[in-house]
């Protein structure tokens, strides 16, 4: 135990650096993923059939294949066409992956809003677009916060898979430390501790946002 604590403390600076990279990967990828999710959700809800098809094919492929395959495929695919750092290739791969799940969250939230809301807005002379932006989206966004928070935590943990394209984030560092010292259990435990801390912080933030948005409104 004391040896574990020694290892934990002696690697703080290295793992803090790596945790920062994990955090950057997560935040960048989730911001892009949220944009993808919103656009794909609207495509799925649109009355234009080809847009539905594109959205369904995208979601189908992403949900139907493992993330690690997507990361490898995008990394070796994208970097053949454009010059891209591993960080950006990884971020984009993670964003494309989470985007599919976030699209489904947004779509579900939008569809869960009573259709009387749209009818009331339209009966007052609002256009579909005005009704969407002013009446439907604000309510849907609030409803999507809990599942979105959940998806963000999954995204944070999924970022560990970009270790395999050589980004020095938490898991990548623990792999190399484990290999160098042969103290595998120790360094994978340390990795777990760092992820746990990050997830707890995320959870607190999500809960705060949920509470704030809940004041006096249905």
């Amino acid at each position: 135990m004391s040896q574990f604590m020694d290892s934990l403390l002696s690697t703080v600076s290295g793992f803090s650096q790596a945790a920062l990279v994990t955090l950057q990967l997560t935040i960048v990828s989730l911001i892009i993923a949220s944009f993808i999710g919103l656009i794909v959700a609207l495509m799925k809800l649109s009355n234009t059939k080809p847009l539905n098809w594109i959205a369904n094919i995208y979601i189908g492929i992403i949900r139907g294949t493992p993330l690690i395959v997507q990361i490898m495929w995008l990394y070796f695919g994208i970097t053949q066409i454009v010059v891209l750092s591993a960080f950006w290739a990884g971020s984009i791969a993670l964003a494309i992956h989470s985007g599919a799940y976030i699209a489904e969250i947004f779509r579900g939230a939008i569809q869960s809003i009573d259709k009387g809301q749209m009818e009331a807005a339209e009966s007052l002379g609002m256009t579909k677009r005005q009704a969407m932006f002013r009446i439907i989206f604000p309510q849907a966004f609030k409803r999507s916060i809990p599942p979105l928070g959940n998806q963000f935590i999954i995204g944070l943990k999924d970022s560990s898979l970009v270790a395999f394209i050589g980004i020095t984030e938490i898991f990548n560092l623990s792999m190399s430390q484990a290999a160098a010292t042969f103290r595998q259990l120790e360094f994978y435990t340390i990795a777990g501790v760092y992820y746990l801390i990050l997830v707890v912080i995320f959870t607190i933030i999500v809960n705060k946002i949920e509470k704030r948005l809940d004041t006096g409104r249905a």
Binding site: Q117, E119, A120, S123, M126, A218
Partner: protein, 240 residues
């Protein structure tokens, strides 16, 4: 004000409206009654194109409304609607609900819209609830806010789709009172309701629908004391 000619509406294979002819004049209160499934709500919703007609003509102020040629949102600006389930915007306060359309659709300055909105709230007896969210209101209060919200657009005609059907019995009166006041002020109204007392007292004309056709159209006095149509007689026996 509103003219409907040979209106047909289908839901898939179900023929809901089978050739409706109806005219509503300015300042007139027309009450539509009939059993559930008779098509009265569908007819009302066709008037502001929440349901699209399949055949026939709908005229509003001497112009035929062709949904392919005119912007429906423009038409709806002048047609207020009150729903059975209120459909207030839960993320907005009472006053925000009321000024939403005037400010966004009519581009009226917020201060002006708020002043007008407060006047309307005064009229429906809810000025003290302006800053409250809808979830804090009773059903009757919600419906009065919904009426004020529709009135805020200065509509030429008001449509009511069973405005008291979702209310507890003791809350029906306050909503009917507001509607009665509105009728006395000369508002043109088309009302779908099961409130026979209201129909008898306030309506200028009663339209009885049965299986998608207008089976009887009469003054309330004649309709309630001496109905001509066999189905109407039976309906009145059941509800009175």
């Amino acid at each position: 004000m509103i003219k409907v000619k040979n209106l047909h509406k289908y839901f898939k294979d179900l023929h809901v409206l089978k050739g409706i002819d109806l005219e509503v004049k300015s300042n007139e209160v027309v009450v539509m009654i009939g059993a559930s499934g008779s098509g009265k709500s569908t007819l009302l919703r066709c008037l502001n194109f929440l349901e699209m007609k399949d055949k026939g003509e709908i005229w509003f102020e001497d112009k035929e409304i062709d949904p392919d040629k005119v912007k429906l949102n423009k038409v709806r600006e002048d047609i207020g609607m009150v729903f059975q389930h209120f459909n207030l915007f839960p993320h907005k306060t009472v006053i925000e609900n009321i000024i939403e359309a005037p400010t966004i659709v009519r581009k009226i300055p917020k201060e002006e819209a708020t002043a007008k909105g407060m006047e309307l709230l005064e009229k429906v007896g809810l000025a003290d609830k302006a800053q409250v969210y809808p979830e804090k209101l009773s059903g009757g209060q919600k419906q009065r806010v919904a009426i004020a919200r529709a009135l805020a657009m200065n509509p030429r005609v008001m449509l009511f789709d069973e405005p008291t059907s979702a209310l507890d019995p003791e809350l029906v009166g306050e909503v009917l009172q507001v509607m009665k006041q509105l009728a006395e002020d000369g508002m043109t109204m088309v009302v779908v309701t099961h409130e026979m007392g209201f129909a008898r007292e306030v309506a200028d004309r009663v339209v009885f629908l049965e299986s998608g056709v207008i089976a009887e159209e009469n003054t309330p006095e004649e309709f309630f004391t001496n109905p001509q149509n066999e189905k109407a007689k039976q309906f009145l026996r059941n509800v009175l």
